[in-house]
Assembly symmetry: C2
Homo-oligomer: 390 residues x 2
């Protein structure tokens, strides 16, 4: 056991880290919380953190030029941001759907909560492993049914089996995360189109495309969008976080495209001012061609570096890196190390903060999730892995 | 009619403004929306905006020193902020209650929504005039009963009558906004203490103290807090926006103190990450003595200037400024001008954006609400008023 190799002081630190993780439940404690509560750590790389660092830099550059250096920062902090429907109007052209079909969230998580609380009444079918909020946020009385993705399929969704399961279970809500979290498996556009059509009689089909900007169909890296399909399939709820691809988790921005009746229902008694000044600034930037052109370069650069990182991960002994088209890879650990010991050792010894998947239902074995960061950070992760496992 | 005095071009602008107001429903369109949609306007003073501008300056100074000039801004934008319960822990000492009794909101409005959606099941009693979200956010099937505050009492709550009304109606929820919005009437601490005690059998007593930092019992201007009373009265929900007193509406920050069982219920299936990086930064600042000492000076300075502004308002002909201990005054207009014409004329002619109260139920007559801004802005408001009405 690796933990036996830690010094007494390191053991104490390990205990603190594990306690923080327990307190945070099915999510990782933030790097701020870790740094504050365990000050002896020297955290160098946050490999928990699913975010394009080059996009953060790009956003910061705009923020500096347009808000900080112009004193417009005050406007963004002082005044009330626009209402939900006003920001929806800003996104309309870009999302190729009418403003009335667009709902803005304080992060995608607020939209997940709103959708599950308001539209899921009876039974929800969720593929596992998954992002835990999808089953944690269901209200009392709603049945949660899991569709277990198979390890032998590398957790790729088997569409035929899935559709049979939907027929058998008759859920009122299904969730498809594409690429899926925590494994990064991607359902291709043609398959998604078929799935959406076959699921047309399910009351609510949630498609979470929070990681779609990291996926690709081929070497053209063209962006895939499902938002315009909501017109044809009113049962669809296509939602997306802006935290990962744009590297702005601290701003809390997300959107969903769904049928106008759902949105007017939600806005009727809530969610009017859930954007901050900075998220409104971001959304206005997000539809600007000058920003998008630069963003597109950073997106493709990051995809290439990420896939290169995954290739190198596959070379490392004592682990399996599952195929992924997200910006993270699911890693299975061999040779007896537990994921919890792996995480604490990586953090204490190498300053690399990684995500244990010990709380993820549907995974059997010792799993961690590693995010792709900058090229330099990825090399630090690889070197730590080689040292710890090799 | 004033509108007849507007030129043709001004009439067109007036129509645009009125349309925007209609679209925004029972709330004012933001100054951003107005400026964008009606570019011909030269807006100089936002007298809709209930916010201490000196506190904004103070916050900006800290932000500049601690985030912008140190490159820590990136951390705040890039990383996930802490969870709700972590931020609750930061506020605990300052609010004199345990972290488990503290709930953090994406603005007070999110808390109002959460409380009304989750804890109001049958009947809510609301004093009018009021902040409209209290009745707009109720879910289907909940009865809304209004307790009409009396014009002849200057909209001051009559406690005996109110308690009789509560006895008669047997609501499961009552709302007390102190000072009240839009009239600024203040219920003194002794009376509040009595009210809280007398209301101990009402299932949920919401006390909205969003404007309490502008109120005062006497010339010492000491802050009044009800948060520690939640221990003794578990039916209390004391909630507060940070937008007004700290001048940071764009950040979206609010908190509530309420019984731990309510909070664990809310956090069980939602609201885990509803703070942004900037709101977390604000909350960390908010409990620091160095910041609070400086804030206290700006708060008292602003109260004094505000009360001076109200004194001068009372000198102006053709209006009545109702007594207020908030940072706004309810103004009744005489001599035949409608509040809508007043608002558009003030905006077009003098660049002063004010809030019509024509949508406020419980007000009979022509009412607007004027916010107190900087001393200079207040003088511009007074001069515009004199010119328009005098």
């Amino acid at each position: 056991m690796i933990s036996n190799l830690l010094t007494e002081a390191e053991q104490e630190t390990a205990t603190k880290i594990k306690l923080l993780k327990e307190q945070a439940g099915t999510h990782s404690p933030s790097i701020f919380t870790i740094a504050e509560q365990v000050p002896e750590l020297n955290i160098k790389v946050d490999a928990c953190f699913l975010s394009n660092p080059y996009a953060t830099e790009l956003f910061l550059r705009y923020l500096k030029d347009e808000l900080i250096n112009t004193n417009r920062m005050r406007d963004v902090l002082e005044f009330y941001p626009s209402q939900n429907s006003v920001i929806a109007g800003i996104l309309s052209d870009h999302l190729e759907t009418a403003p009335k079909n667009i709902f803005i969230g304080n992060g995608a998580i607020e939209i997940i909560q709103a959708v599950i609380h308001n539209f899921t009444r009876r039974k929800i079918l969720i593929n596992i492993p998954t992002f835990s909020s999808y089953y944690e946020f269901v209200k009392e009385g709603v049945e949660v049914v899991f569709n277990k993705l198979k390890k032998e399929d590398n957790y790729q969704l088997n569409i035929e089996e899935y559709l049979r399961r939907v027929m058998d279970e008759e859920p009122d809500t299904v969730v498809l995360i594409n690429p899926n979290n925590p494994d990064g498996q991607y359902i291709k556009w043609e398959d998604m189109r078929r799935l959406i059509h076959e699921l047309r009689n399910v009351e609510t089909v949630i498609i979470d495309k929070s990681f779609i900007h990291f996926a690709f169909e081929d070497e053209n890296y063209e962006l895939v969008s499902y938002t315009s399909m909501v017109d044809k399939y009113p049962n669809l709820v296509v939602l997306k976080s802006m935290s990962k691809d744009f590297g702005i988790a601290g701003i809390r921005a997300g959107y969903a495209v769904m049928n106008e009746y759902r949105i007017s229902g939600l806005l009727k008694n809530g969610y009017l001012w859930n954007s901050s000044g900075l998220s409104e600034y971001f959304f206005r930037l997000y539809v600007r061609q000058d920003f998008l052109n630069e963003y597109e370069k950073e997106r493709i650069r990051y995809i290439k570096e990420t896939q290169h990182f995954f290739d190198q991960l596959r070379e490392i002994r004592n682990l399996k890196a599952y195929p992924s088209k997200a910006n993270f890879a699911l890693i299975e650990l061999f040779n007896g190390i537990t994921s919890s010991d792996f995480v604490t050792s990586m953090l204490i010894r190498y300053g690399v903060y990684s995500r244990t998947c010990s709380d993820k239902i549907g995974l059997e074995g010792e799993f961690v999730r590693l995010a792709s960061r900058t090229r330099e950070d990825n090399e630090a992760i690889l070197s730590a892995l080689k040292s710890l496992l090799g």
